[in-house]
């Protein structure tokens, strides 16, 4: 689109102002996490920590067993990620590369679960896991990922698989390949970028999950970072230096994962929105 110089300048100015508003909370987080309390509370606010209180991070880390929370979170995140990537891609294959009667109807029915509020399934699921004796374990948070890994991910991968030319499978068929071989030797390797998208969404989804752990985990030693941070807030009210240091530690891994996988993120969201 051709644009006048004036419109462009105005757009620039607006973008800079908006970006500043989006960035300020991050700056506020980092600067607070590196200040001592007396400087945090000065009015008007100061922006540069003097001196830099790196010790805040250490104090936050030792105030609560964040190493345990981190390990718990990683166990859940990695288990969920593996299950999601494997089972959602297998299901997406079945919904796109194999022709069978009723396929699209079944897929449409599964898709309706995307609009279902989690509140409706929350209580019976909880009771079910409790009856099986898995309350206060990681199983309720991990096992569902091994059953399709969420319809959203299947949908995303199916969209991608539909774009791979049919001839690939046909040729392999002629050579006597089975569906399993076509999946593992052709489709799975070809869909690397889409699988990365699913893996990234899965990582963030379980890393950020708050309600799941809140419902299913009772013992402190099983807490995830999200729960731990919330507990921290309850104990250290108004200790904004420590609270911000702890928050920063929960945010940083997400930011790193995002910056590394940025290209895939944007691709993935575009894929869901455009063809939705």
């Amino acid at each position: 689109m051709r644009q006048s110089k004036l419109a462009l300048a105005g757009g620039y100015a607006a973008l800079i102002v908006i970006s500043a508003m989006f960035i300020i909370p991050f700056v506020w987080l980092v600067r607070s996490s590196l200040m001592d309390l007396s400087q945090i509370f000065t009015m008007p606010p100061e922006w540069i920590p003097k001196p830099f209180q790196w010790g805040n991070f250490h104090r936050a880390l030792t105030a609560l067993p964040f190493d345990v929370f981190f390990t718990n979170t990683m166990i859940i995140v990695v288990s969920v990620l593996v299950g999601t990537v494997i089972t959602s891609s297998i299901a997406a294959f079945g919904f796109s590369r194999i022709s069978w009667k009723g396929r699209d109807t079944v897929f449409a029915i599964l898709m309706t679960s995307m609009m279902l509020p989690f509140a409706v399934t929350m209580i019976p699921s909880f009771l079910g896991w409790q009856m099986l004796g898995f309350y206060d374990t990681f199983y309720p948070l991990i096992v569902p990922a091994y059953f399709g890994g969420g319809i959203f991910n299947i949908f995303l991968l199916r969209q991608f698989y539909l774009t791979i030319p049919r001839d690939f499978d046909e040729a392999a068929f002629v050579d006597g390949a089975s569906y399993f071989q076509i999946y593992s030797k052709i489709i799975f390797p070809l869909s690397r970028s889409a699988l990365i998208v699913v893996a990234l969404f899965s990582f963030l989804g379980s890393w950020n999950d708050f309600m799941g752990p809140l419902i299913y985990l009772k013992s402190d030693r099983l807490f995830t970072l999200a729960l731990g941070l919330q507990m921290f807030q309850g104990t250290y009210t108004a200790q904004w230096d420590l609270l911000m240091a702890a928050s920063a530690m929960v945010v940083i891994p997400c930011v790193i994962v995002f910056l590394v996988g940025q290209r895939y993120f944007l691709e993935g969201i575009t894929l869901t929105g455009l063809k939705g």
Partner: protein, 295 residues
């Protein structure tokens, strides 16, 4: 392809089983539970028919209407705010400016911040005595606010905190904008139309399918807000932020009235269905599909 059905079912079995076990099964169970007085700490459970629903609507439980009102207010405020602001930001990002990718990253980044951390940051920004927002307002000689801590401002404040995370809505709009053919704009230019006629005659009609998608998703999400209520406000002050799902969680898990909470869940489900249906129905009059096709 031979034996397609057998293989098709084999490959999709995990997903189908998952749907039956983790979605359909619990849904039915939830409906059944909602017709009982199930409570973890009571010895026996009996079938009570529609008593839970009757109790909800009779007005006996005033917190039900309270939470419904709070949630409607939140949805009414949040959905238009998210849609309008995301669209405006996407329009800006769609301009041919240098550093687009950097702006895009900055605007998307907050949406990946974990809800607990985001809540923590905003509680601190909105701290009435020492937070950044009030000191900025003071500096500008504007009246300060109690933000999350006063009855009148708590809901708008929660909406504000969620606006920080509009990144993915913006990106979806941006993808929609990228799909509009340049030639359409050139046609307007030939006719001597300016920026505004391009927006009104091309961009807005062409973006309606994306707008529709974003509106539905934002609507569904807004009805189910929980984390903010739990972490930021615990429903306060004076129940002014008693969001529906928070009230449901409290009823089911803290007060262990799981039968009653299941009825609450089904009411929410029906409300969301009705709203989604309305948006779908009205979409015929405002969503434009190229070639007259509907998905």
């Amino acid at each position: 392809m031979r034996k397609g059905l057998w293989y098709g079912l084999l490959f999709t079995a995990p997903a189908i089983l998952g749907f039956l076990i983790f979605t359909l099964g619990p849904m039915v169970a939830s409906l059944v539970l909602s017709l009982t007085d199930y409570n973890v700490f009571k010895d026996q459970t009996s079938f009570v028919g529609f008593a839970n629903y009757a109790k909800l609507f009779s007005g006996e439980d005033d917190l039900f209407y309270k939470s419904l009102g709070v949630t409607f207010y939140f949805v009414l405020l949040r959905v238009p705010a998210v849609i309008i602001i995301s669209f405006a930001v996407a329009l800006l990002l769609n301009m041919n400016v240098k550093g687009r990718a950097v702006f895009r990253t900055i605007i998307y980044l907050p949406s990946i911040v974990p809800a607990v951390a985001s809540a923590m940051i905003w509680m601190w920004l909105m701290n009435p005595d020492l937070g950044l927002l009030n000191s900025m307002l003071e500096w500008l000689n504007l009246p300060t606010s109690n933000w999350l801590y006063s009855e009148g401002s708590v809901i708008p404040s929660v909406v504000l905190t969620t606006l920080w995370g509009i990144g993915s809505t913006v990106i979806i709009f941006l993808a929609g904008l990228a799909g509009i053919p340049q030639s359409y704009y050139e046609a307007i230019e030939v006719d001597g139309g300016g920026w505004f006629s391009k927006l009104r005659q091309i961009t807005i009609p062409m973006i309606t399918p994306t707008l529709f998608f974003n509106a539905i998703m934002t609507l569904i999400n807004s009805f189910q807000v929980f984390n903010e209520a739990y972490i930021l406000t615990q429903g306060g002050p004076n129940n002014q932020s008693l969001f529906y799902v928070f009230y449901l969680w409290r009823t089911g898990f803290r007060d262990t009235e799981m039968g009653y909470a299941s009825a609450l869940a089904w009411v929410l489900f029906v409300i969301i269905m009705i709203f989604t249906y309305i948006v779908f129905k009205t979409s015929k009059s405002w969503v434009y599909y190229e070639g007259g096709e509907r998905p």
